[in-house]
Each structure stands twice: as C-alpha cells, then as structure tokens.
C-alpha cells in the first residue's frame, strides 16, 4: 500500500466509509445523550418565551459582547478568523460541495478557488496564532488538556494538507489528496469523542442557554 494511487483509493473508499460510520455513530450517540437527558419540568412562572430566545442566542452568541471583545480581543478576532476560514473552506470550496452533494444530496454555489485559497492561508496563520495563544495565555495554558493539542494538530493538519494539495506542493497529487482525505477521516473519527463535538452541540448548548435566560426575561 505504499503506492500513492492505492493510498488515495484506500482513503476514498474503505477508510472513508469507516470514518463516516464512526462519525455518524458517535455523533448520533452524542446528540442522543444530550436529548434523552432532557430537562426537568420548570414550575416557576415564566417571564418570557423559550423557543425564540433560544434561537436568538444560537445566533447572537456568535458575536462577542463589547466587554468581552475589549478584554479578550485576541480570542474574538482570531477565533472568528479561523472559524470563518474553516467554514468557508469547508462549505464553499467546489470539491467539498461535490462531496457533500454526494453524501447528502445538497448543493449550493461555491466560491472562486483563489478566494478559498487565500482564506485557507489566513486560516492557517490564525491557527498558528491560536496555538501560540494557548501556550502563552495563562488561563488557556492552565485549562488546556492533551486533547486540546490533539484537536489543534488535527485541524491544522487538515487545513494544511488541503492547502498543500490544492497548491500542489506535495506530489504526486494522489498522495497529497489522499493525505488530506486521511486527515479529514481522522478528524471525522475523533470528532464525536473530543471537543470537536461542539461543531454540532454548540447549537444545542446555545439554545438551552438562550431558552433558560429567555424564560427569565433576559436576552442572553
């Protein structure tokens, strides 16, 4: 299996199936773990609704409040930068759209490749910055676990391998593409079992938060 084309086909075939399987299994389990636990009945007299405030928080929590922005500008700016970069690259790069279409049957217009390329480069720089920040900021350093570094490495390798493959810096291309897909597969496999879960559960968490505060009449 040292052959790049064999390697690519392995990653596009059996390994991808495996990754998707583990991912789907794990992620469904994670979400069910949350939903089945549910919430206890609340007998207090509500001041506001839950559904709309919940959904509102799902959206608004993406934007930091001015005080947080002032006190943690790095977190906010760099966090935004690389998250946005990652999402743009993931969802608006034509080959990714083709992949998603094959998996889910959904499709949408993509962005020009040079734009995605630039965004990817910015994402990589931002990711490096987050690592430096994690190592140097006393709070982040204190609360970081090995998992944080593992996840950082996976995300970085995922973006980096995509960048190298697109710019054809690693050759031959089947090897480069295979490496990128392999990174994506490892990413998918660990996703449900690490903090990467937040990609999906963040919506649930924010909703619960917004609903809880909203019930008490606070826009959270």
């Amino acid at each position: 299996m040292s052959d790049p084309m064999d390697f690519l086909l392995l990653t596009k075939g059996p390994l991808f199936n495996l990754a998707v399987t583990v991912f789907a299994l794990g992620m469904a389990a994670r979400i069910l773990e949350i939903l089945v636990n549910g919430r206890r009945p609340n007998y207090s007299e509500a001041r506001g609704g839950q559904w709309l405030p919940g959904l509102r928080t799902v959206l608004t929590r993406s934007v930091a409040d001015p005080g947080t922005f002032k006190r943690a500008p790095f977190n906010v700016v760099v966090g935004w930068l690389w998250h946005l970069g990652f999402i743009v690259t993931l969802l608006f790069f034509i080959p990714h759209i083709a992949l998603i279409k094959s998996l889910l049957g959904l499709s949408w217009p993509g962005l020009p490749n040079p734009v995605v390329d630039l965004v990817t480069a910015v994402t990589l720089v931002a990711l490096v910055a987050t690592l430096v920040h994690r190592r140097t900021h006393r709070v982040k350093r204190r609360i970081s676990t090995p998992e944080d570094y593992l996840v950082w490495t996976l995300v970085f390798l995922l973006v980096l391998s995509g960048y190298l493959a697109y710019n054809r810096i690693i050759n031959p291309y089947p090897l480069a593409l295979g490496l990128h897909i392999l990174c994506a597969e490892v990413f998918l496999i660990v996703l449900p079992f690490t903090k990467l879960t937040h990609i999906f559960t963040v919506f649930i968490a924010r909703w619960y938060n917004g609903a809880s505060f909203g019930r008490r009449g606070v826009e959270s």
Binding site: D3, P4, M5, D6, L8, L9, K12, G13, P14, F16, N17, V20, T21, V22, F23, A24, L25, G26, M27, A28, A29, R30, I31, L32, E33, I34, L35, V36, N37, I94, P95, H96, A98, L99, K101, S102, L103, L104, G105, G110, L111, P112, N113, P114, V115, R168, P172, Y173, P174, L177, P192
Partner: protein, 371 residues
C-alpha cells in the same frame, strides 16, 4: 547500458535519411520535431542532431498479451515520427502481431531470431497485462505458450522493457476489480531489467514514439517518475497544464454536457474530470496530430494514465467524492449511534433516578455535625 554495438556496418540515421533524399534542413527539422516530441527544450536540438547523426536502428520486439490493440492503433496515429518512418528508418520492429507479415511458426521464428541476434540489446515492448505466475496459464497463450513464460523468456535478453499502455504498466482493465484472470503488470514480474511505463489507455502516440526516440537518440532511457513513467511526459498533471484551468481557478464549472458552461469551455471538474490526479501529456501534446484531446472535446478526463483508474470512482463523479457508498454508512451508523446514545443516556438517567428514589435528604442535624 551498451547498445547498438552489434552491427557496425549499419549506417547512422543522418546518412540513411540522406540516402532517401532528405536534406540537411530536413534532418534538422526532424531533430526539431524529435525535441518537441520528447518534450525537450528546443535548446537541446543541436545535441539531438549530434546524437541522431550516429543513431542506428535498434531491434524491437513487441509482445501483445491481454490487450485490445488500442496501443498499437495509437502508435499508428503518431505523426512525428510517423509509424512508417519508425518501422522503416528508426527501429527494426522484429516482432509485432498486428503489423508483421509472418504468421504462426514463421512469426515465432522471427522473434527467436531477433532475440538471438540482438541478445542483450533489443528493446522489449509489451502491451497488455498478463495472467500472473499464480493464475491459470491457459487464460492467455500465444503459440501454445503462456504469456508469463513468453515474457520471462524475452526479458532475459532485453536491454530494457517498455510497458506500453496502462494494462502493461499497471494491470489496467483486466486487473480491475475483481481481476477475474489474475492479471498483473510487467513491472510486477520484471525486477532485474529497467522498465519504462508508458501508461495511458491508450498512451498518447507521441509519448510512445518519444520514449523510443529518446532511447534511439541518447542510447538510454529517459528520466522516470516513481511509477517508472518518463518524467518528460508524466511530470505534470493534466490539470496543471489544462487550458481550462483558469476556469477552475475562477470557479466556473460546466454542470452538464450541453449547458452554457460546457459550450463556453468551462472546467469539467464537477462532471468528474480526473485531470487533477492524472499525470499525462494530453493537455500539451493533444491527440491525432494536435487535433483535440478529451477535455477539449467536452468530456472529463478519465484518468487513464494512472494505476487503478478503473476502480477510482465513477467517471462522472467528481474527484473529491468517495468511491464507496458512504451516505448509506452515514445513515445506518447514525441510526445505530442514536440508539447507543439513547441507551447510555437512559441508563445513566435510570441510575440517577434510582438513586433519587433512595436518596437521603440533607438535614440540618447533619449539617450541624459539620460545624
């Protein structure tokens, strides 16, 4: 590698050409065309001329195994040099089923004669895969001899082996899943002789002749990539050299074969083009005397110069799409996962509830004890 030492009386190429009335300018032009064909920079033309002055016709033995004759057909489409120039002036094609006059025993005798006369110096060209040593030899025989035996016998005295076409180079179609005849490539079997793979289904004709011209010109094989393919032709991908690449970069893609994008020549990535992962010379050499090439004629690249391209996902499925039924796995595993998650959560909830039922409330008396 020692070559062309056998027949000192034979004239060099320049002299042979002069004898049929080809002028010096004609010879220089031939050299220019040869440089272009070998994908060498024009600055190499004087060196090529000097080498071709002396070049003699090497003996070439061409074995056809599990093949479709597409590679030979492709060879006959070469316009620089033409197949007639090739077989009359440049090489001595001593065994080739499709072209040779002799048949049956006479044909085999010609092969054996050439192998004896040019022992250690002939070029062995193979097209088609062959059933491996572990497969039933009856799956492919010539003159009652298994392909495997014939290949190994012919390799013994060869200076080098050129595997023409993806079947010979990588197993190709016969080796596609589930490989019903146990087909293998030449490279799988030949370990002690230099092997050049001229892949493609079929190969670009000028790439076949280009490798022969290189051998003829320089008396050695060209520089190879990790798949033993000549770097001069397989060094860059179709995608890197595709004239439609700017559309890829701009994100302009044909969605179907007859839409405005297809008519305007937009990128065929979404129609399944394998150009990015395919290393071949189609984009620059093009086909049939520069007439066109698949992408120019609106069809995505099949990736035919790459190993296992038959099994590399559908031809109309974009390169980034997995080859397996991943979405089925997604659904099935999602369902299983949901059940597993629900079970775990329910179990944990159940335990918490059981504990709550027997829970001992905290009392002030207990708290007081702590004071």
């Amino acid at each position: 590698m020692r070559v062309f030492e056998k027949n000192p009386l034979e004239k060099g190429l320049a002299e042979r050409l002069r004898e049929h009335g080809v002028s010096r300018r004609g010879f220089l032009k031939f050299c220019a065309a040869t440089a272009s064909m070998m994908a060498l920079p024009p600055a190499m033309i004087p060196a090529i001329a000097a080498a071709l002055e002396r070049a003699r016709r090497p003996s070439v033995i061409w074995l056809s195994f599990q093949e479709c004759t597409g590679c030979t057909e492709s060879l006959t489409r070469s316009h620089a040099p033409t197949v007639e120039d090739l077989i009359l002036d440049l090489i001595s094609l001593d065994y080739h089923h499709t072209l040779q006059a002799a048949a049956g025993e006479a044909a085999e005798a010609a092969r054996e004669q050439a192998m004896r006369d040019n022992h250690g110096q002939y070029l062995l060209i193979v097209d088609g895969s062959l059933p491996g040593p572990d497969a039933n030899p009856g799956y492919s025989t010539i003159a009652g001899v298994s392909n495997y035996s014939m290949l190994m016998e012919a390799v013994e005295g060869a200076a080098a082996v050129i595997a023409v076409g993806t079947c010979a180079a990588f197993g190709g179609l016969p080796a596609a899943a589930p490989n019903p005849t146990g087909a293998v490539s030449v490279m799988d079997l030949v370990k002690d002789k230099p092997v050049v793979n001229v892949s493609g289904c079929p190969p670009v004709p000028m790439v076949i002749t280009g490798v022969l011209a290189h051998f003829l010109t320089f008396g050695r094989l060209p520089e190879l990539d990790e798949y033993h393919r000549p770097l001069a032709f397989f060094g860059q991908s179709i995608h890197d050299r595709c004239y439609r690449r700017p559309f890829y970069d701009k994100g302009l893609f044909a969605e179907t074969f007859d839409d405005a994008g297809a008519r305007a020549g937009w990128c065929l990535y979404r129609l399944g083009c394998k150009g990015p992962s395919t290393y071949n010379a189609c984009a620059t050499m093009r086909w049939n005397a520069g007439t066109s090439w698949p992408i120019e004629a609106g069809h995505p690249c099949l990736g035919c110069a790459e190993p296992r391209f038959w099994d590399a996902g559908g031809f109309y499925v974009p390169l980034s799409v997995p080859t397996g039924p991943a979405s089925d796995y997604l659904l099935a595993a999602g369902a299983v996962g949901a059940v597993a998650g629900a079970v775990v959560a329910t179990k944990a909830r159940g335990r918490a509830k059981e504990e709550a039922a027997v829970r001992q409330p905290v009392t002030v008396e207990e708290l007081e004890q702590k004071l």
